[in-house]
């Protein structure tokens, strides 16, 4: 497993040479000018530098390149898009060069959202307790110390999937988060998913987390407890059956309009049609098994009758 430097590690102390590096990049003109976005003055000021794709510095300790760029087009659409930068970041960042004494900032999603409506909707406390058991931060996990919410949820980009969002898009966006680090999973030679029938079809229509998390008590929520490969779901029927968790999880995004347009019947059929459990038709199953059972009964009775008739004949 390798890590792409997370985008939001602004808390690292800015070493003088890193600032020189940034300036050098600026002078070389590698960055693009800040894109005008509809944001407040302060955000605009920050984005004058941070909108550049190449803005980065080399961490003096880990020697890794730390990306400081923010996608200016995505930011206003993100869930935090309306906030001024300093609502989360230290006010001292308003000054440039940024003060060297700026300590590592720690961002706590739960801390911010404790008392607002987000907690009620997303149950961030539950998320946190699930996350604590996640394979990414479990004792002994590689890079556990550097893993945090933002490793997966880029706060400048991520937005909540709303009802009506195209499922394929939801899947693509969700999986991109995992695959940005786990790029090897995509390697057809590696075979970690070779057992999975119709692997590519699965990857296009199912999120990684649908199998790599335990089924949560509330079917509409995805647990944040990412499981190890061994513990992940390999049971086809967990998804491919009626009332499967996959349907509950993934299809919550389907809009009510969509349901009304296609009709309940066609939607139900469609859901059953493209997954393995598709041949499960309780009606056909029960009728057929009943007929087969009755036939067996008749045949047994017939055979018994023949045997009794044969015995009677012999006795005579």
């Amino acid at each position: 497993m390798s890590f792409v430097p997370i985008r939001f590690e602004i808390g690292r102390p800015a070493a003088p040479w890193s600032l020189i590096g940034v300036l050098a990049l600026l002078m070389l003109g590698l960055g693009r000018p800040a894109v005008a976005i509809e944001a407040d003055k302060q955000t605009k000021a920050c984005l004058r530098c941070h909108a550049m794709e190449t803005i980065a510095y080399r961490d003096p300790v880990s020697r890794e390149i730390v990306d400081l760029s923010i996608a200016p087009r995505l930011l206003p659409h993100s869930v935090h898009g309306e906030l001024a930068c300093t609502e989360c970041h230290r006010k001292s960042y308003r000054r440039y060069p940024h003060p060297e004494e700026a300590e590592r900032e720690s961002f706590s999603c739960v801390g911010c959202h404790e008392d607002d409506s987000a907690e009620a909707t997303y149950q961030l406390k539950t998320v946190e307790s699930e996350y604590r058991q996640s394979v990414h931060v479990a004792p002994g996990a590689k890079h556990a110390d550097r893993f945090n919410c933002h490793s997966c949820h880029d706060p400048h980009v991520f937005k909540v999937s709303r009802v009506g969002t195209d499922i394929a898009q939801v899947v693509r966006d969700g999986n991109q988060v995992c695959l940005s680090c786990h790029e090897k999973a995509r390697d057809p030679q590696l075979g970690s998913h070779a057992w999975l029938p119709k692997r590519d079809a699965h990857w296009e229509s199912v999120r990684c987390v649908d199998c790599h998390t335990p089924a949560s008590a509330e079917p509409s929520r995805v647990s944040h407890q990412i499981l190890t490969a061994e513990d992940s779901n390999r049971d086809c029927v967990a998804c491919h059956s009626r009332d499967a968790r996959l349907l509950n999880r993934l299809y919550q995004y389907r809009s009510e309009e969509d349901l009304a347009r296609r009709g309940l019947f066609a939607k139900a059929i469609f859901n059953e049609a493209y997954i393995v459990g598709m041949s499960r038709s309780p009606l056909v199953d029960w009728i057929s098994l009943l007929i087969i059972g009755l036939t067996l009964l008749v045949l047994t009775a017939h055979g018994l009758g023949r045997y009794l008739a044969y015995r009677r004949r012999r006795n005579r």
Binding site: P197, M278, S279, V284, S288, A309
Partner: protein, 210 residues
Amino acid sequence: MKALYLYPGWLRIWHWVNALLFILLMVSGASMHYAGTPWLLAFETAVPIHNAAGILLTLGWIAFVIGNVRTDNGRYYRLRWRGLAGRLIEQSLYYARGIFRDAPHPFHVTAEAKFNTLQQLSYLGVMYGLMPLLILSGWSFLFSVYLPETLFGIGAVWVVAMTHLATSYALVLFVLVHLYIITTGETVLTNPLAMITGWHRERHTPSRDA
């Protein structure tokens, strides 16, 4: 004692290969359909078995059709329409009543006709009705990407799935009835032995029964 060579080598080989494939397909098919049931095969195991056996079954069916066109075995499947209903009723009555009373078989196997009308109709239905449906729906599963999105306004794959499922159940029913009904020859083993040796042997001659 009468002995008729009714089942040539190719037909017997086809029959027993078909029987073996049926067993494989029923077990693997049930394992896929009822995936997760503990005493069935694992889904991953069942899929390749089912696919492979299905492809072989298709080849076997083609061979059967060719065999019936090329040899005179096909004549046994030609229906004699005259008196069909009467023979059907007679045969059914025999199974329902006569068989318990030691009544004579209403049908006598000859070199010209080895199937009674009931057999003829069920074999015709199975080989030229259910089997093509089963095979077509099976292949449609394998190449479902080439199917249109919908058939008759319903999702195409679902139509295929239900056809395959219903046909499969009907064929399971056929196998059960077939297994039982073959024991209703002159003796329990008359018919099964004929499919092994090729020779249909009867102690009683038709003249005596008639």
